[in-house]
């Protein structure tokens, strides 16, 4: 009973079938156990959460499966601690001792070296975080992975980020898309590699908003402050001007931060549409349809949820974000089930890298 799947536009290829009440039955005991174990349980909590989220996600006609375990995440954390945390601690200690002895230059250089190695490992961790997630994600018993270990990617991550920032940040869209391509092109699912060819041109216009908007916002803000002063004068003469001006100034600051936040959201919305849209796997192409408004809704409701539950809402954010990604992720094309055989990539026996140890997002 092999055959193939044609995925057309009628039904979404990715369907999320979970509900928040079921998730709460996982997340609340997780929270309790995480608190009473001083955070150690969080590795098991993460595994349990992912198991739920993955298993309630259907791709075409079969659910996903998360086969990672809490124990391996915990092991990964310990390995990171011993291999990187302890040497890092040692190097900073030596740097301080050198400075205390009057070798400021060498001491500072060592400190910079420690910082650079963290930068490098951050890149490796991004690669490994994704590799780990793919290797623990199964569909019809088949998993993903990568034959690369991410050490080369760590170097690319360093130099591309530096080059991206250097010309006043103008090349950031290039560094981001280029790193996305480099990372995903080395990943595979079953026997087939992912292929991506995201172009920075598609997101560059949005990125320019970061440069233009501050001026627009500033002028708008000054007008607001001026209006505040006028209104203040109308209400209470000279004192009113001061109070009105102050309120106007406050408005300006708020306006500015909110404005920059909005631009960031608009940019990321476009960025994800571009890079996911440029990602293919065999005969499948992917699209990600979340608009800026969708993102804003997600983030505003996140904030409301957290604030009005005095922080308990935090435990639902992973649920909300997963649902968001799955709702807006689409795939089209054809899968030949007979040729979809098991991945031959090697898998680590532990959670990989800092990302999963600290549970940062991998996408």
């Amino acid at each position: 009973m092999g055959g193939s799947h044609d995925i057309d536009g009628a039904d979404s290829a990715f369907v999320f079938e979970g509900n928040w009440k079921d998730f709460a039955r996982i997340a609340l005991p997780n929270l309790l156990l995480t608190i009473v174990t001083l955070g150690i349980y969080r590795f098991w909590a993460t595994a349990r959460e992912r198991q739920y989220l993955w298993s309630r996600t259907r791709f075409v006609d079969e659910h996903l499966e998360w086969s990672g375990t809490g124990k391996e995440l915990f092991l990964g954390f310990l390995i990171v601690l011993v291999l990187f945390g302890v040497p890092y601690f040692g190097v900073t200690f030596i740097a301080q001792a050198l400075i205390a002895r009057g070798h400021e230059a060498i001491g500072t250089a060592l400190g910079v070296l420690a910082f650079a190695s963290i930068f490098y490992l951050g890149g490796v961790a991004r690669f490994r975080g994704l590799r780990y997630r793919l290797s623990r994600t199964r569909w019809r018993g088949i998993r993903g992975g990568s034959d690369h270990n991410g050490f080369v990617f760590g170097l690319s991550y360093m130099w591309k980020n530096i080059v991206g920032w250097l010309p006043a940040g103008l090349l950031i869209p290039w560094s981001m898309t280029s790193l996305w391509n480099e990372r995903w092109n080395k990943m595979s699912f079953g026997p087939f590699a992912f292929e991506t060819s995201a172009e920075p041109g598609g997101v560059f216009a949005r990125f320019l908003l970061f440069y233009l908007a501050p001026f627009v916002l500033f002028v708008g803000g000054v007008i607001m402050a001026g209006m505040g002063m006028l209104a203040g004068y109308g209400v209470g003469g000279e004192d009113g001007v001061a109070i009105g001006g102050f309120l106007g100034f406050l408005g300006l600051i708020l306006f500015f931060y909110l404005g920059l936040g909005l631009i960031a959201v608009a940019f990321y919305a476009k960025f994800y549409r571009e890079v996911v849209g440029a990602t293919r796997w065999r005969e499948l192409h992917f699209t990600f349809e979340a608009s800026t408004i969708d993102w804003i809704k997600l983030l505003v409701i996140d904030a409301v949820l957290v604030v009005f539950t005095f922080g308990i809402g935090l435990i639902f954010l992973s649920y909300r974000h997963w649902k968001f990604f799955m709702t807006h992720l689409e795939a089209g094309g054809e899968i030949l089930l007979d040729e979809l055989t098991q991945s031959q990539t090697s898998t680590a026996k532990h959670g990989e890298g800092l990302l999963d140890a600290f549970d940062m997002g991998a996408i």
């Binding site: 009973m1 005991p29 156990l33 205390a100």
Partner: protein
């Protein structure tokens, strides 16, 4: 034997994505068998392990074939269900104990661990051998980068001062550091530093004797190791936040002692001064001046590290003033020339390094 236990089943063999739909049969013994129109598979019952529970199905895996997946309906005939591996939810330990009991045990263990961690500096610090502390101190600051002032007359004056306030055979290593701050520190390894800024603003040798005695008190009462352990514990908790070279010598200088430790060091200082017949009025004068200059609140000014972590200056001035014997005549602790030699020590040392980093 007729197979009494049967259920519908779907499975993936782990080598291809093709799904098999058929039946799972248990022979009542040690073997499971899977049959579908196109495939057949059998394996030992003990090979099956629980994977996960979904809304209407349960997933099993095989120990020997980790990629294999068996999907059974959630409602399985009781006879067969008894032979299937038990589900697990939270993880082995919690499942065995039950959520409530496990949470309780974890909470007790955690509270004990936190209590141990929080109190460790207090009981562990004094038990760490002095020789270890000396090694740690040497590793951390060494000779302070040649920033300690030396002149023959100044060294002699400082040694005389130390003689009065440190009764031990093996004296602490005291020095005047070429730094302009009004400060004094006891560093790990029994090293006490008066900063030149403090020496410059001292109006009498008795003031310096008081401050020196206080810092020696920290060393002799083993406060330094306790504070170091506390700092170390904090930096573990704040790991990452406390990165780079920011936490350098000044991290040590601002390393806080507890209020009790400060009282102990003050008590030690007064006892030594009484023993050596050194007037405590100098120290009292010093604290009164500090109270005038920086205010009398307990941590009024974070920049004045030495004062910040100490009890209120006014209160301390009074304690030192009260320690003076009524009508007693104290001989001067240093001669005019010796005091002057201390004051000009940094100025006249041609080889001392500037502290230029901050």
């Amino acid at each position: 034997m007729e197979s009494p236990f049967k259920t519908e089943a779907q499975w993936y063999d782990g080598t291809s994505a093709v799904r098999h739909s058929g039946e799972l049969t248990w022979d009542g013994g040690e073997t499971f068998e899977l049959t579908s129109p196109t495939a057949r598979d059998g394996f030992a019952a003990s090979d099956l392990v629980f994977g996960e529970a979904r809304s209407r199905t349960v997933i099993y895996r095989r120990e020997s074939t980790p990629d294999f997946r068996l999907i059974l309906p959630a409602d399985i005939p009781p006879g067969l269900a008894a032979r299937l591996p038990a589900a697990h939810t939270y993880g082995a330990w919690v499942d065995r104990l039950g959520l409530g009991k496990a949470a309780g045990i974890f909470a007790v263990v955690s509270i004990a661990a936190v209590a141990l961690f929080m109190t460790a500096p207090d009981w562990l610090g004094p038990r760490i051998p002095t020789s270890w502390e000396r090694n740690i101190g040497d590793a951390m600051v060494g000779d302070f980068g040649g920033r300690i002032c030396h002149t023959p007359a100044g060294d002699a004056a400082l040694a005389k001062l130390l003689e009065k306030v440190d009764p031990e055979e093996e004296k602490v290593r005291a020095g005047v550091a070429n730094m302009e701050m009004v400060n004094a520190v006891a560093l790990p390894g029994g090293q006490v530093l008066l900063f030149d800024g403090l020496v410059q603003q001292a109006e009498s040798a008795e003031e310096l004797a008081g401050v020196l005695a206080h810092e020696v008190g920290h060393v002799r009462e083993r406060h330094v190791m306790t504070a170091l352990l506390r700092q170390f514990g904090l930096s573990i908790l704040l790991a990452g936040a406390d990165s780079g070279v920011t936490n350098s010598v000044f991290g040590l200088a601002s390393m806080g002692y507890s209020r009790d430790a400060e009282r102990e060091a003050d008590d030690y200082a007064r006892a030594r001064m009484a023993q050596s017949n050194v007037s405590p009025l100098g120290a009292a004068g010093f604290f009164e001046r500090m109270a005038d200059e920086y205010g009398d609140t307990e941590d009024s000014n974070a920049l004045v590290g030495w004062l910040a972590s100490h009890p209120s200056s006014g209160e301390r001035a009074k304690a030192y003033r009260d320690a003076a014997r009524k009508g007693a005549e104290y001989p001067p602790v240093l001669t005019e020339d010796e005091f002057k030699a201390l004051k000009t020590m940094c100025e006249q040392d041609p080889e001392v390094e500037e502290f230029e980093f901050f």
